[in-house]
Symmetry: C2
Subunit: 480 residues, 2 copies
């Protein structure tokens, strides 16, 4: 077969022969050939592929096989399906060009099943409601709202958030102490800079956490001091007074899932008061609790000692870059000053739109819908594992969008499991990757030589891709 | 008269007696009383004011006087006028609360006539077109576009900008070397951090410039070395080889307005090549040139030595926080890495929307419309000054959204002029404020003891407020 390419649904020749001869299935061969053509740059972004009927006829295979192959590659992000426009090659943030090394987003090259934690189901983003709220926001915003404003952000959003956070998470703040920032990433960076100005040299972090946050803290010139964890959350009794702050995920420890016990919350606040330090509460998935009433924010114990960090990344979309800090009085001026220096203020239209969503009640309804959706995902995960991988212990599933899968002693080591996962395009992380500080040096649970554990996010795949992702996961675990 | 306040158009008692007894006009007294009530917090944001008819009857004054007073306070930003909703107290970014010191946006307390440079006419923001483009963007964006992406930004926008900037400004770049950032403020900060990593310790800046940028450079740990200016732009022959980069505004020197002469552009690029340094071209108003063909970007002389910084702040709105850097190959990785650390990436919906605006041709049409509008403003300014303040020399008006007004020797000193301007709520800046580095230490033109010069932005006021602003300016200059 020749390999010639044309756009706009014209001829598209694909060479499946070699793969078939090697024993690969028809659909897998087609998927591989398409994927390769896009990765190599022969099919350029925007190119329109033939209809499934046309390609099926051309290759002499069933139309449905092409439909499934297109669907799989769309789920992976290589292709784009638009109503009325057929299937095109997706525009990706890492275009493949000659020998140039383009800085990449998260590596997508071999991702067929995305079970990385920290990602919501992007198909849930309420596009229509967002657009309607944008329309209302633009219809009523005064002209000055589009100009240079203060670093805290739009008053409309700060007022809406004050009430929403009080009602939903028990946060005690007011619009003058809320700062809108570009993701918790930016918020944490501003906080670290402010803490450093105050003389802080280190931040206590939970022994397992989010490596990009650890890197951020270090880039700000502070060292990270790991805090051991157990089933009741962080061992706050071991907080080092030399640390300028403690970064915690009290509602749902990331990634182990333990909620921080009540007595430990009180102890952390006591530590902060006695040492004149701060606690940073990263409430990354606080709206998603399934089995009982959500635990209120720790911030309410002492708004002058606890910084509350919230985000729209999980409830809406990471692409909005919308997050907020409820700050102690003493930190408002320095953080606001640093925000002004960083980028003056956050973009206003998103802020006005979110304020509209919140005040209209639409946001509440959306979050409820998401919670139901993700709870079903969790239930399907648990059921699938119970049936196909009963030797695996699933933890941290009372809340959030991810779970930790603990394998029994004697299982395949974590590194080998991750390699096998990557080989089949299954994206997830090992618990070890989440470790803060040098391996073996943190006194945490698990560690080198302990039984392997995997962290999986069950929110990321769109609905049609979730079953296949579950299958791949169970397949991996069965052989573990 | 009592002073009691009710909302929703009910009774509103205002005490004008004292001001009237002091000789103030009726309208000015009413404006002052309203302004004071809002500033003091007695009239809270969102409070609905009585109709002009009702208040006029209540106070025994002509309805039209109330209409004008409401109009003036709306132009100043204290009140908000919405069709069908009457007049309300505006929601501002600096709420007045008790004794709390809220970090402020630009101080608005006494601004009646906004002639500060750097601000576009916000009433020109194309809300309908923006909304329509957002709708199209959301209708076609793949789900993954809303997720975590690469630091450079959405490929749709980078492709659209590549073509647009080439066509309109002669910039030579490609999508892999464009980085979308949160305003030139953030872009400059990222650049400074990248330069510092490479060993830079100082940046050459034009002797007159934008003080917030100077502060930003210093906050990044670099010192600013002022570069003298003359009528042909920056004295690039005096560039110090120890500087890691030179920050220039070649199309329209800010604030003096001189375009950088061709031979000097070439010399700056030569300097950068010979010393292995960079030039940063801040093209802050490159689309607004009135009297002749625009000068193309300097970046085209050597894309590997010149960083091109552009923005949507003037052509669209500062509130979007949309800007971009066309980077030399060698700076792509470091700047992208620093962007990732700062806030992962810029918000995506704006990016997709702007890409739609550009590719649909709407952005071009909008910019042309703005150019025409601002040229008329400039013409009215020049005519008004020629008639009412012929002793003033207006410079820098061939392009952009601001002008420099040079007064003759023997005029009222700059500081006194600024004080008089502030007393009548006229916002503008003195040329001295724009000076980089210690006064007298930069070898630049003008300086202590020289004739005063004012920098005024003629874009900021909405159309209905522009005549009054011009009047106030002429009044100030007549007495100078």
């Amino acid at each position: 077969m020749s390999t010639s390419w044309t756009s706009f649904g014209g001829d598209l020749h694909l060479d499946l022969g070699e793969r078939r001869a090697a024993g690969a299935g028809l659909r897998a061969s087609l998927e591989d050939a398409l994927r390769e053509a896009v990765q190599d740059g022969r099919l350029t972004p925007g190119t329109r592929l033939p209809s499934s009927r046309a390609l099926g006829e051309d290759l002499g295979i069933a139309r449905n096989t092409v439909v499934e192959a297109y669907g799989q590659l769309t789920a992976e992000g290589w292709l784009s399906s638009r109503q009325g426009s057929g299937t095109t090659v997706a525009r990706r943030s890492v275009p493949v060009r000659g020998g140039r090394t383009a800085p990449a987003g998260p590596r997508r090259r071999s991702v067929r099943h995305d079970l990385m934690s920290g990602r919501p189901d992007l198909s849930l983003f309420p596009r229509t409601a967002w657009l309607a709220a944008t329309r209302r926001a633009l219809a009523t915003a005064p002209h000055e709202a589009l100009g240079y404003g203060g670093p805290l952000g739009r008053i409309e959003l700060r007022e809406a958030l004050t009430h929403y956070l009080a009602r939903v998470r028990g946060v005690r703040t007011d619009p003058d102490r809320l700062l809108v920032c570009g993701g918790v990433q930016q918020g944490l960076g501003l906080l670290c800079a402010a803490l450093r100005e105050r003389g802080a040299r280190s931040v206590a972090v939970e022994a397992y956490g989010l490596p990009p946050q650890h890197a951020l803290i270090r880039a700000a010139g502070l060292s990270t001091v790991p805090l051991p964890l157990d089933e009741r959350g962080a061992r706050v009794d071991l907080l080092d007074a030399r640390c300028g702050a403690a970064l915690l995920t009290p509602a749902h420890q990331f990634p182990t899932g333990a909620p921080l016990a009540a007595d430990r919350r009180a102890a952390a606040v006591r530590w902060a008061r006695e040492q004149d330090r701060y606690v940073v509460e990263d409430d990354y998935d606080g709206e998603f609790r399934y089995d009982r009433q959500p635990l209120g924010a720790m911030q309410a114990l002492d708004p002058e000692r606890v910084v509350y960090a919230g985000t729209a990344s999980k409830s809406l979309a990471p692409g909005l870059r919308l997050a907020w800090l409820a700050l102690p009085d003493a930190l408002v001026e320095p953080v606001a000053r640093l925000k002004t220096m960083a980028d003056t203020m956050s973009p206003v239209i998103e802020q006005l739109t979110l304020a509209e969503l919140i005040t209209s009640g639409t946001y509440d309804r959306h979050v409820r819908r998401c919670r139901l959706h993700y709870r079903r995902r969790r239930d399907r995960l648990v059921a699938a594992l119970a049936e196909h991988a009963p030797h695996v212990r699933v933890t941290g599933i009372a809340a959030g969008l991810h779970a930790v899968l603990q394998l029994p002693p004697g299982s395949t080591p974590e590194a080998e499991l991750l390699a096998r996962a990557e080989a089949v395009g299954l994206a997830l992380s090992g618990l070890t990757w989440h470790r803060a500080g040098p391996p073996g040096g943190d006194g945490g649970d698990g560690g080198d030589g302990g039984p392997p554990a995997l962290v999986i996010g069950y929110a990321a795949p769109p609905e049609h891709a979730f079953p296949a992702a579950l299958d791949a996961l169970c397949e991996l675990l069965r052989g573990a």
